[in-house]
Amino acid sequence: MPDTPAGLRAREGDILLLVGTTKGAFLLRSDPSRDGWEVDGPHFPGEEVYALALDQRAGRHALWAAPGNPFYGTTLRRSDDFGASWSNGEDRPVRFPEESELALKRIWQIRPGRPEDPERLFLGVEPSCLFESRDGGESWTPVGGFLYHEHRERWTPGAGGMCMHTILTDPAASERMLVAISTGGVYRTDDGGATWQARNQGVRAEFLPDKHPEFGQCVHKVAHHPSRPERLFLQNHWGLYRSDDWGDSWHDVANGVPSDFGFCMAVHPHDPETAYIVPLESDGFRCTPGASLRVYRTRDAGGSWEALTEGLPQHGAYETVLRDSLDVDSAAPAGVYFGTRSGKLYASSDEGDSWTLVRDGLPPVVCVKAAVLHAA
C-alpha cells in the first residue's frame, strides 16, 4: 500500500488541481506561476474517485471527494486541511429512501451551490438523481421532483452507467437549475426543483430510431459561464451544440472539428465566448482522431474551432479524455488542464496555446478540477 499522503500546504493565490482516478485521488499545488507542481496522493488508494470539488464559499477551504469501490459502495468525504485528514465515510450518508427502490451506485458530481447560498450543495449520482444539502453538506436528501420524475423508467444507462454528471445553477435566479444525465438528456427546473422539464430540442440521439426525441439523448457534458448563464455549450454522444436560451433550443456548432463525438467541455473563466473540447474519433473508437492529441478551442462561441497542439503528442497518441477530466482555473491568463485514461495529466498556463505534461503514469484519470485558492 502507498505511503499515507500528507496533504498540501497551500496558500492564498496557489493553484490547486484535484485529480480523480480509478485508483485514488491526487492533489496538486502550484504557486501562481504554474511552473511546477507538488503532488500529494494517492488519497483513498484502490478506490475510484469520479467526483471531487473545492468549496471556497463563506471563507471555507472544504475539499470534497466521493471514493468508492464495487465491493463496499460509495461514500462522501470532506477535508478542511487540504487532504491531511478526511472525514469518516459514514458521517454524511447519501442514501435513497427505501420507497424509491433505488440504491446508490456512484457519485458523479459534487457541486457547491450559488455563492449567495453557501450552505447549499448538490450531488449528481448514479442511478441518475440530484441530491441536495442545505446545511453545508452535513445531510443529504434526493430532490423529489427529480427522484420521482415521470421519465425515470425510460432513462437507460450508457457505457459509463446511468449518471447525472452536470449540475448548473443560475446566478440570477435561485429557482432555476439545469442538469444533464446520460442517457436521458438535459432537464431544467424553474421552480426550485419541484418540477423538471426535458430541454433537448435540437439535440440528436443518433442511437435511437427517433433521432430527435423529447428526452433520451446521451448528453456527455454541459458547461456555461456565470456571467452569461443562458448560453450553454453541450458535448453530446455525437453532436456539439450551443443554446442561448437556457436549453429551450439547441443548434449545431461543430464547425471545423475533426469529430463531433467527445466527452468533455469547459468554458473559459473570463470569456463566455471561449470554450474547450477534446474530440474523439467515434463511439466505436473512443480515441483522439488520427492518433493526435488535440484540444480544440473556440473564441466565437462555436462559430469556429482551432486545434491546440503545442506540447501535445501529434503521433501515436491514442488518448481518451472523459467527461469530467477537463477544467480551467480562474487565474489570468487562464490555466487549462486535462487528464487522460492512460494516466497523463496536461496543463496549460496560457489559455491552451501551449501544454506541459505535468504527470504521467497515473491510474486512468476520470476527474480534474482546478481552482485558485482564495483567502480563508
Binding site: N69, P70, F71, Y72, G73, N88, G89, E90, P93, R95, F96, P97, E98, S100, E101, L102, A103, L104
Partner: protein, 93 residues
C-alpha cells in the same frame, strides 16, 4: 448461543477494529444476523447491504463453507454456534 461474524480487513474500522464479532440472541437466519449487525455497527452494515436491503453485488456471505447464494440467500438458516463470513469477490483489478 451466539453467532460469530468474520469481518474483512477493510470493514474493521467500522466495527471497533474487530476481526470477528459475536452476535448474540441466537439469530436464526442470515437476515436476522445482519439486522443484529446493523443494531451495533450500522456503518459496517451499510457497506454490505444497499438501501434496498440487498447484498452489494461483489459481496459474498458464507455460512461456514457454504455460499448463501446456493442455500437460500438471506433466509439461509444459521445453526447455533455457526460462523458467518463476509468475503469480497476476487473481481476488479
Amino acid at each position: 448461543m451466539s453467532l460469530t461474524l468474520s469481518v474483512p480487513a477493510p470493514l474493521r474500522d467500522l466495527a471497533d477494529g474487530q476481526a470477528a464479532i459475536e452476535l448474540g440472541d441466537d439469530p436464526a437466519t442470515v437476515r436476522e444476523a445482519l439486522a443484529a449487525l446493523r443494531a451495533v455497527f450500522p456503518a459496517a452494515y451499510d457497506r454490505i447491504v444497499t438501501e434496498r436491503g440487498e447484498l452489494r453485488p461483489h459481496i459474498n456471505l458464507f455460512v461456514e463453507a457454504e455460499d448463501i447464494r446456493y442455500t437460500g440467500g438471506l433466509d439461509t438458516p444459521l445453526p447455533p454456534g455457526s460462523r458467518l463470513f463476509i468475503l469480497p469477490s476476487v473481481s476488479g483489478g
